[in-house]
Subunit: 160 residues, 2 copies
């Protein structure tokens, strides 16, 4: 019922690379990351661009360019990352100004969806990239979750 698309999956794998101690403070390039993760370069590039566009990564052009985290991984939330890769959370036709339902005053669903969505968001917002990337050591906001991507035949996750 909740489906995480593959690019989100790839994106997290890539972001983990940035958290590795030996990579802290370095610019990582699309090619280098593709090599490290064994993912195809075009995909890596596309995902990185998207992350940069939404402020999760900062990009630097030119030779010796690349990407780095826009912030300390303790301050990058899963909500932000997933939001960058999957589009805005909780866009419902109900809430959409243009096509949306014009019967807010009567519609019984609207406020309920809003509340449910906030609860979901809170779960994601409470998990930092650092926690995700870590060895699950320190307490994380994780209560217990399981996730996905449902279509396509995933490339196996390479070790990071």
């Amino acid at each position: 019922m909740i489906r995480m698309n593959k690019q989100t999956d790839y994106g997290l794998l890539l972001l983990f690379q940035f958290v590795r101690p030996e990579n802290r403070g370095k610019n990582l390039t699309a090619i280098g990351l593709a090599d490290a993760t064994h993912l195809p370069v075009p995909i890596v590039s596309k995902v990185l661009k998207r992350l940069a566009k939404h402020g999760v990564l900062r990009s630097y052009r030119g030779s010796s360019g690349g990407y780095r985290l826009s912030r300390d991984p303790t301050r990058l939330s899963l909500a932000e990352i997933v939001g960058a890769l999957e589009g805005p959370l909780a866009i419902t036709d109900c809430l959409d100004e243009e096509n949306g339902c014009r019967r807010e005053a009567v519609c019984p669903m609207r406020d309920k969806w809003e509340r449910i969505n906030s609860a979901m968001f809170a779960v994601f917002a409470g998990i930092s990239l650092q926690e995700l990337a870590g060895k699950m050591g320190g307490h994380s906001g994780l209560i217990g979750v399981g996730g996905q991507s449902r279509r396509g035949k995933a490339l196996p996750h390479p070790e990071i």
Copy 2:
């Protein structure tokens, strides 16, 4: 990032009808529900069938047949409803026995996704149909949410 499809939306609207006091204990038919909700009959029928197939509703054939809730609405969770309409929660290629990632021992994502997924599930499991259908009176598990369906141009939600 989380997207609820339209049938789930319709499904909840339909289920709300079953919770209305004047409908308690009655068989409600697809045609009757379509009329009450102003949704097209085929869609209503399809959604009801799916809910029945997954045990949210119980169906009765023949004339004077119809549907009713399989359980008291206080004991039907949103997790169950959404699961019925959107398919199993948290099916990831990672976890899929057939095509899935064969590197569980190494893969850094698997347990994290599992935990995140469980957290999401817990949010949905903690909300009953009764709470959703209610006037938001008594305390509900809802912390605050907002939701959606992103494609298609939704029919406006009729009053229930």
